[in-house]
């Protein structure tokens, strides 16, 4: 590939013309110190406390919102007949979608040996888990009687009743719970070598104890590494279908229904692509400030940002194709229901939502992401990540709300107006997500030290047992 960046940029590898995955000049020690230092430092940055406090405020808001919800019922939201689903389902799908990038990075990219993923996979996985925490809450709280939510699980009971397995909501239960389980296990497994490092480097007895327990007796022996690697590979193999299946099942929540705007076969692929699209946007939202704040530009380089932007461009195009196909099929099917739905979605009273969707999800990202200059422009990417996630939220809004509010019988057409409690709970989950993330960056290694170390040139064994570093030092 031809070099497009500034030639004299030290970050650009002159051999490939790409940005380096890790800035030159790092060795095992510097990497370990840099990453472990964030966790083991005794000087917690004030900004962290401030951020945690703000996020904690939103968590409080969430607790208030949920308490009121349980006390009064889902009627405090804007849900109604015909729009019986609203923010809760939109948020559920949105959050689950966001989680997908983490799994894709940790599983699929691992299988494809995309080593650049190593820098970002840990916090992408953390993002997945926190997103699933936020998402998993919604199916439970959105039901009318949340205290009976466990009825969706197949468990032996004296009533002798089972869930109704034909319902996509019952499939959701399995999809999401499997996803959450695998994600947590994979995340934890990946951290074990790093926990070993932290245990060894920790000064505080409490930290020693804490990380010692978590490291499960990791000693870094070859046998450990062999087992670790094969477990990782196995979990990656297990997670890979999940990347595709979870959002497919969630798209069935809509696709199985008879409602125009929901009843469409294109949903599974287009939901998965959308999920990855929004997930990478969220990784950018998180990565950009973190690398800045913790000075991790060396480890999370422009190469990562560039690559993620490329993934977004690719998935964004698939999403765009999905939208196009929806419109095309609405016309081509010659079904009055479909065509009216599409017309109403675009030009009806809620056409503004479709407009926002097209603007933020297609028009802005898909025109600009072709430019490498913009792909490595940190400020632009940060802004774009918000734009895309707004767009993806509106995609779910358009699907859920604008399909429901004007369906088959004109007599039951209505509208949907979110209440303050809808917003409080949505903002509250954003707060919860951020809150958990703040805890994560402070107490867990946000970048996998072991994997970064493996990527250093020093690990490249050359003839005569010299590492690449030695070779390069010699040649220099």
């Amino acid at each position: 590939m031809a070099t497009k960046g500034p030639i004299n940029d030290p970050m650009i590898d002159p051999r490939t013309g790409e940005y380096a995955v890790i800035a030159p000049g790092h060795n095992f020690k510097s990497v370990t110190q840099k990453i472990a230092g964030v966790v083991l430092t005794s000087n917690t940055p004030l900004g962290w406390f401030f951020g945690l406090m703000v996020a904690g405020g939103f968590v409080t808001l969430l607790v208030i919102g949920l308490t009121w919800l349980v006390l009064k019922g889902v009627g405090i939201w804007g849900v109604t007949i015909p729009g019986a689903w609203g923010f809760a389902i939109i948020n559920f799908v949105w959050w689950i979608g966001i989680g997908h990038a983490g799994t894709l990075i940790s599983a699929i990219l691992l299988l494809f040996k995309q080593t650049w993923r190593n820098s970002i996979n840990r916090f992408a996985e953390a993002m997945t888990i926190f997103a699933v925490v936020c998402a998993g809450m919604f199916p439970l709280i959105h039901v009318g009687r949340p205290w009976l939510g466990y009825w969706l699980f197949p468990y032996p009971n004296t009533m002798n009743v089972w869930p109704q397995f034909r319902s996509p909501l019952a499939w959701d239960v399995f999809a999401v719970s499997t996803y959450a389980t695998i994600s947590v296990v994979f995340w934890y497994l990946g951290m074990i070598p790093d926990f070993g490092t932290l245990r060894d480097r920790a000064k505080l007895p409490l930290a020693k104890y804490f990380y010692g327990i978590l490291s499960l007796g990791w000693r870094g022996s070859t046998r450990h590494w062999i087992r670790y690697e094969s477990a990782s590979l196995l979990l990656a193999g297990l997670s890979t279908p999940l990347v595709l299946s979870v959002h497919t099942v969630i798209s069935f929540d809509f696709a199985v229904a008879a409602l125009p705007g929901w009843h469409t076969t294109i949903f599974p692929p287009y939901f998965v692509a959308g999920a990855i699209y929004s997930g990478f946007a969220m990784v950018l939202t998180l990565a950009i400030p973190i690398r800045k704040f913790y000075h991790m530009e060396d480890l999370v380089t422009l190469r990562h940002l560039d690559n993620m932007a490329k993934v977004m461009l690719g998935t964004g195009l698939i999403v765009g194709y999905g939208y196009g196909m929806e419109v095309f099929m609405a016309w081509y099917s010659a079904s009055h229901w479909e065509w009216f739905m599409m017309w109403n979605r675009m030009f009806g009273p809620m056409g503004w939502a479709y407009g926002i969707l097209v603007l933020t999800n297609l028009a802005i990202p898909l025109t600009t992401l072709w430019s490498r200059k913009l792909r490595v422009n940190v400020g632009y990417l940060f802004l774009l990540s918000f734009i895309i996630n707004t767009g993806m939220w509106f995609e779910r809004f358009v699907i859920v709300v604008t399909s429901l509010y004007r369906d088959f019988l004109p007599s039951s057409w209505g509208t949907y107006v979110a209440t303050r409690w809808d917003y409080i709970i949505y903002v509250g989950t954003l707060g919860l997500f951020t809150f958990l993330f703040f805890l994560f960056v402070r107490f867990l290694p946000m970048i996998p030290m072991s994997e970064i170390r493996m990527m250093l040139p020093q690990t490249k064994i050359t003839r005569g047992g010299a590492t690449a570093e030695q070779v390069s030092e010699e040649s220099a």
């Binding site: 009064k72 019922g73 889902v74 009627g75 405090i76 804007g78 849900v79 109604t80 007949i81 015909p82 729009g83 019986a84 689903w85 959105h142 039901v143 009318g144 009687r145 949340p146 009976l148 939510g149 009825w151 969706l152 009743v161 089972w162 869930p163 109704q164 034909r166 319902s167 996509p168 909501l169 019952a170 959701d172 239960v173 929540d253 199985v256 229904a257 008879a258 409602l259 009055h336 009216f340 009273p349 429901l404 509010y405 369906d407 088959f408 019988l409 004109p410 007599s411 039951s412 057409w413 209505g414 509208t415 107006v417």
Partner: protein
Amino acid sequence: MKTTGIGTEDTMAETKSQTDAVVVTQIAPAKLTLAEVRAKLDGKTGRRFWKNLDELAETPAFQELMAEEFPRQSTEWVDAVSRRGFLKVMGASLALAGLAGCTKQPDEPIFPYVKQPEDLVLGRPMFFATAHPFPTGAIPVLVKSDAFRPIKIDGNPEHPVSKGRSDAFTQATLLDLYDPDRSQHVLRHGQTSSWGQFQEAFQAAVRTMPGGQGLYFLSETITSPTLAEQWKQLQAAYPQAKLVQWEPVNQDSSRAASKAVFGSYVDAQYKLEAADVILSLDADFLGGIAHPGFLPLAAAYAERHRYEEGQTMNRLYVIESTPTVTGFKAEHRLALKPSEIAGFARALVSGTAPQGANEETKKFFTTLTAELETSGGRCVVIPGEQASPSVHASAYLLNASLGNVGKTVIYTDTVNPLPSEQVADLKALVADMNARKVQWLVMLGINPLYSAPADLNFLDAFNKVPVTVHLGSHVDETGSLSNWHLNKAHYLESWSDARAYDGTISIVQPMIDPLYGGKSAHDVFQTLLANPAASAYDAVQATARTYIKGDFAPNWRKALHDGWVEGTAFAAKTTGAPKSGAVPVGSLPGGPDGLEIIFRPDPSLYDGRYANVGWLQELPKQVTNLSWDNAALMSMDTMGDLKLEETDLVTIELNGRKVIAPVLMSPGHPIGAVTVHLGLGRRAEAGRVAAGVGFDAYAVRSSDAPLFSGGAKLTKAPGSYDLCVTKVHAMETRGKFAQLHFETPHLEGATSLPGNEAMERGVIRYATLEEFKKTPGFAHEGSPMRETPEHETSMFPDAWNYQKKDPSTLKVQNAWGMAIDLNSCVGCNACIVSCYAENNIPVVGREQVKVGRNMQWLRIDTYFEGDLHAPRAHFQPMTCQHCENAGCEQVCPVGATVHTPEGINTMVYNRCVGTRYCSNNCPYKVRRFNFLLYSDFDTESLKFMRNPDVSVRSRGVMEKCSYCVQRIEAAKITADRENREVRDGDIVTACQQACPTDAIVFGNINDKASRVAKRKAEERNYQVLADLNFRPRTSYTAGVINPNPELA
């Protein structure tokens, strides 16, 4: 034990009272005399149920026990302010034990309708016949009583007037009975008093009045022969006493016209079964019992409007001002301002087209005149009660000249035994009050401080009366200011009699002892008569001896049992030839300037008497589908002229009086006129439901122009108001939509998007008679969207086989289904209220309805078609379709909505977790969700009203129409016990039972001889949204209209 929750207290009270009942019978010869007992019980709250004689004796030991066991309640007892808090705990309260425990039958013998059980069989309802007294004629009813609690009111099937049908008001009087805001005490200056004290004071005062001079009664319209008889006796004793009957909505027009034209007061009875052509002059005879004879008229209209071989389909012409369901059922509807209707009617009499009419009106006129002339003797002209006297006079003349009298219309004595022209009488009364001639003003069931014409300044006059007495069900606007307030007994609690539309007398018998010891007007009159202790029962029996022929005792029993007295229907009265020109058209009151304002009784609340009945407040009003509130209804053009939008407020100014009202566009409303509905804008005294809902149109209504008036000025008022229209919940959509048309107000064929879509989607299918004759299968032609796909197109064609044979009996199982005839449905709303009562449906309140959360299981969809200025409207009752291939069942994750082998889509409330997915996947959007805790589990009085066979749903649960599964099961159990099959007609759903036009038929579609199977076999039968392959069990019969080709 003390306050462990309502439920335990209930059970406690119940078991206690049962054991005590035994005690009572054992120590029957008590020391107390009956009179003493009665005196003790007077003034106590609640039913006069007493537990033991100690209580009555009020022994110290008993008092101690009271104070000890229920200390909290005994303090709350005296505090009037905490009455509501008190209601919550009254299950435990001793004096109210009668309410909480089993209830007692009235003392006087009443007779069960169908069966006469030797004793009460718990769980098996009994049916009693009585009548709902209403100013336009009593509605004979059959009351379902469970453990002596009335729980459902339906028409009396054996009565010639109702034939089992009923209407929204009658259905809703049930909630009226159990209204927790009903007044519970006799009040004197706001303090609790007793009936005895009132009687004493009243008798003493009247004794001092020579001949009753200064004694005035202001009564609601009397339809009771006994009350009239009592009044005659009273007047004989006190010749100077005066009785004024007045109601804000009355029949003055027909009274004035008949007096002028015939020289005497007559009522007209129409025989629509003999009419080929019906002309309504502003008569909303299909809307409800506000029009006299609604039930027989609607039934006969629908019968003749059904297309059958060998029957001429009738044709309805309506000339009206305010759009009504009658107008929209008409083949030809002409919207005229009220001032123009009298002229049009007069023109019909003279045969020359009305002056200044436009082309359209002229064409209408000539066609109508020709049609009436050719069908002389087989047509009928019906004037509306809210039309001017001149319209009535014209109708008398027209009917006479067309030879209809004796054929399609007969004239009879008035249902009101003491007919009068009420507004004139009220004016005279107010003059007497102002002249301080009135010493005692006794108001019987009337609320003039709310509803009297504004120009009479009734309050000023009222303040000049030394003693005012108010007999009313609520301590309302009048009751709270009167010296005496007497709590009125509900008609389900009292003895009386009443005449129905055809003159037949029904005995009003109590279903339950007065819940709060209320009294009726009979008791008030009786107080002054020779035998003041005589009860209403005695008075009714005394009068009944005059009209019950033959052996009294058995015939009285038969009258009670049947619900009507044989041979009391009015015979046709021979009137002379009508006097022509007796009532001039007259000039428009208020002058020709400004807008014309039309005052109409509210379609749901009538004159305001039902304002505290939540069912009716929440009921979407006919045509407009406005729930809660009232609005200034006007056409889109008037709105455009005034630069108004639907969310705007407007100040209505008439004769210097002002009221602020929200604006609502009403398709088909005449341009240059505005309609306001009376009966809302009640003050806080009216009750928790009524207070503050809507605006008070009485505030601008004057005694000179109680029906309509010119000279109204409408100006935009600051602020905005969001009405809740259930048809389109999103008001902003409606508002913008209306504004869209301001640009081109007279756009040819301007249509509504929902209406268009309803046609396009085959939701509404209809044809003219000509088209139907040409293509009998019109309902299935045209778009492929109209047809159900072949069975084979389903992946699971035989998922449900409804032709299976029961292995034990080898009989084909039942398959329940419903057919609704859109030709017959007149959109009167009776079915919705019936469903409320049958299925314990909660009332959710204005704010919830506004966002679309009304809980009615059944709704009547109104679709407008064509030009917004002269639209056609279609009514379609829509409820759960019980799809064989139901989408809701497929998506419920917990199996809370499942199919029965008989094809009913059932809701298992206990299993529902509330994902609401079922509602999303329901194309008919007929599922209703308890978004909040809507059912009232606390108010004691409402607990008695509930149908024990239907569970009361709590928060977070989906619900919907069940095809009245409780009735199906009851019928099956009965059939099983009698060792037979369920017969067609055994099962009648609540909506079907109420329907005045037999639009709804329910039954077993596997039984090819059943009515429903026959309806479904008709070519016009179609399923809504058939192409979705949901295979609904409810189908509709496409409408056929019979327009005059000249006007098509």
